[in-house]
Amino acid sequence: MNAQVSMNDFILQVEHLSMKFGGLIAIGDLSFQAKRGEITALIGPNGAGKTTVFNCITGFYKPSEGMITLSRRDGSNYLLERLPNHEIPARAKVARTFQNIRLFSGMTLLENLLVAQHNKLMKASGYTFLGLFGFSSYRQASAESIDLAKHWLEKANLVDRADDPAGDLPYGAQRRLEIARAMCTGPELLCLDEPAAGLNPKESASLNELLMDIKDNTGTSILLIEHDMSVVMQISDHVVVLEYGRKISDGSPQSVRTDPRVIAAYLGVDDEEVEEVLTEVGDEDVIEQLDTGPDAAHGPGSSASMMAGPVSDTVEHADEGERVMVSRGASKAAQVDAKAKTPRKSSERATGKPAAKSSTAKPRGGRK
């Protein structure tokens, strides 16, 4: 692994990325990097904009602003926001999975993995013409592609079901199959959108195993969205935390775990909890501030709950957008910030609300 840490250390560099849907700022000025060969986790409460970041990286959305640079192992660089959608997997070697699984459910597992090798096979079949007349070069390529598919089926522990339709698999197996399918494109960066969502502990463990295997044996870098903190803490090397489209923390799992802003944002279902968290962190000034009483309407509320349903199909409703302006006022992390920064004298006007809270931010949610 160390041999690879060279000049192009970073496989992915996201700089000043913004994505607006009408008046809604889904991502605001986000910058982060992902190191080659590492697992980078992107976490944050529901609606924080994680899937939107993925959609920008994989070309399903064109970002409003910003630059996404991908450096391949051979040294070539790609500006992902300029590439057409389908060329991102083909040329920049970025593969992804979806929050709501998207398999070819009427095709068998094997066929799913063969479709993933489309571009390679297309070339081998002489753009269909050679293949149509049964040239041996295509037959060989086809056999190789089946071997590769078999390899990934074995890794995903699905080889027994290779000839069954993908729609027939249990949920956890479908997640693994989606990852195996993405790996069949031969990616350098693998983007996984909540791969552990809805898995039972056993399935979750086998998923972890698969991800570690990919990381250790293929050198593929992984960008991971995850809600399940245990998964994140166990396998990721680097964590980026989003809240309301902005980055609130960035660092190793340990450092992120103890960041008060993260705890506030991530666990911030109730303001009381924020208080608890802060007590733990031991910031007395801030606790004092909190006495002024929470403003429930401005919290992320239920959207921070893991129980909230998945943002269904964020890929598809590209042009409907509610004009909701989300300011930092709604952010738990910003509250923590504001409180930390407010000088001591604020304790004198104990009944005043913190400035951040009086902003005109509207609650979010209802967008699902």
């Binding site: 994989t58 070309g59 399903f60 959608n85 389908h86 060329e87 991102i88 997997p89 083909a90 593969a95 992804r96 979806f98 998207r102 398999l103 070819f104 459910s105 009427g106 095709m107 068998t108 094997l110 066929e111 063969l114 479709v115 993933a116 090798q117 489309h118 571009n119 096979l121 297309m122 079949s125 269909t128 293949g131 149509l132 049964g134 295509y138 089946i146 078999k150 089926l153 080889v159 290779a162 000839d163 069954d164 339709p165 993908a166 729609g167 027939d168 399918r181 993405a182 494109t185 890929v315 598809e316």
Partner: protein, 463 residues
Amino acid sequence: MAVTVSPERDVVATPIQRAFREALYAGAIALGLFVLFIGLRTDQNINNELILVQRWGLLALVVLAVVVGRFLYVAYAVPGLERSRAERAKAPAVAVEPGFVRRNFNKIGATVLILYPVAMVLLFGFQGSLKWVDNFGIQILIYVMLAWGLNIVIGLAGLLDLGYVAFYAVGAYAYALLGTHFGLSFWILLPAAGAMAAFWGVMLGFPVLRLRGDYLAIVTLAFGEIIRLVLINWREVTNGSAGISGIPKVSFFGLMSFNVSDPNYIAKVLGIAQSGAYYKIFLYYLILALCFLTAFVTIRLRRLPVGRAWEALREDEIACRSLGINTTTTKLTAFATGAMFGGFAGSFFAARQGFVSPESFVFLESAIILAIVVLGGMGSLGGIAVAALVMIGGTEILRELGFLKVVFGPDFTPELYRMLLFGVAMVIVMLWKPRGFVGSREPTAFLKERKAVSGSFTKEGHG
């Protein structure tokens, strides 16, 4: 499980009682429905006045038939069906070995098709076989080929195309115009017509790439109409609705001709008696070969990356893009390939008829071809061939049912009931097999064993 509204009554009622009750209801409904349709009939008397003829006897017969039918259905048919279903459920689920016919369906089908004209000639003689080879054989095979071509677009790629007949028209007119004006041979014009239709397939494909579902269907429908209207109105070239006649016949690869006046007329070359049947039999084998070509290409393509990409596109377009598949070119190739076979069929059609006019390319044709694809089971070649046989063969058979005149009186023309029967057959098949005759899908590759994929997993595509 289900809570009935009046449980007491249902518990008491035996099937016979219930059947009796339902039969009465059905009779009442039938009476209400038919009293004006059948009970009264408008007619003209000798003075050209409109009069009402009363037919109470016929009405009574119809209502009685409904009552008896409903009674028998509820009292005997339904319990019988339920019993047999329960028995089947009770019986251990043995994996039934598919029968000999089912297993070798394709081979048997191909053999029957190849031997069909020979059998007809042996049975009815040259002259007598004409009807069977031409009206049945060739007619059905044309639709088989068209449906197989459309199957690529709808069944594999999941793009609902309601204007398929446009490509048929392009192929037919390409042969008709180039053949009559430049005297080019069928064997040159066949690929040319295919290429031209494929070109128009791409032309249609471009604007509709972004459309899905209903919108795609509407635009393709409009495209079909546009082509037809151009054919009608561009008189200088297409001769308008009068059509083009005198389209040259196909020659036997340039070696022998089927024109009696030609020096190399087949009967002269081979030294046999003159007959129009040779040409028909030749045409039969020609369209059969074209059908085999379509099937071969379809089967091959399905196992190639393009074909898999078509099916993947039908299943999930977004996932396709996430795997680096260029969905634009994939859709265009589907349109082009489907259109090409439509063009082949069109030029064959022109050669067979010797005459083309816009009349032959109305929307109804598209609808019939689509119906065959849907009835057969989208994506399955065998199912579609059977559907074409049933639908086209069935409507042709109606012409042969002269004996019905004895039953329904001399005015009865069974052909007029063609569309009615077509509709009834579709409704029945769709109730009985919602995914068509063959609802399952053959996988294109397998690791250990080839298992058909049940229709409940495959998607119809989104347009």
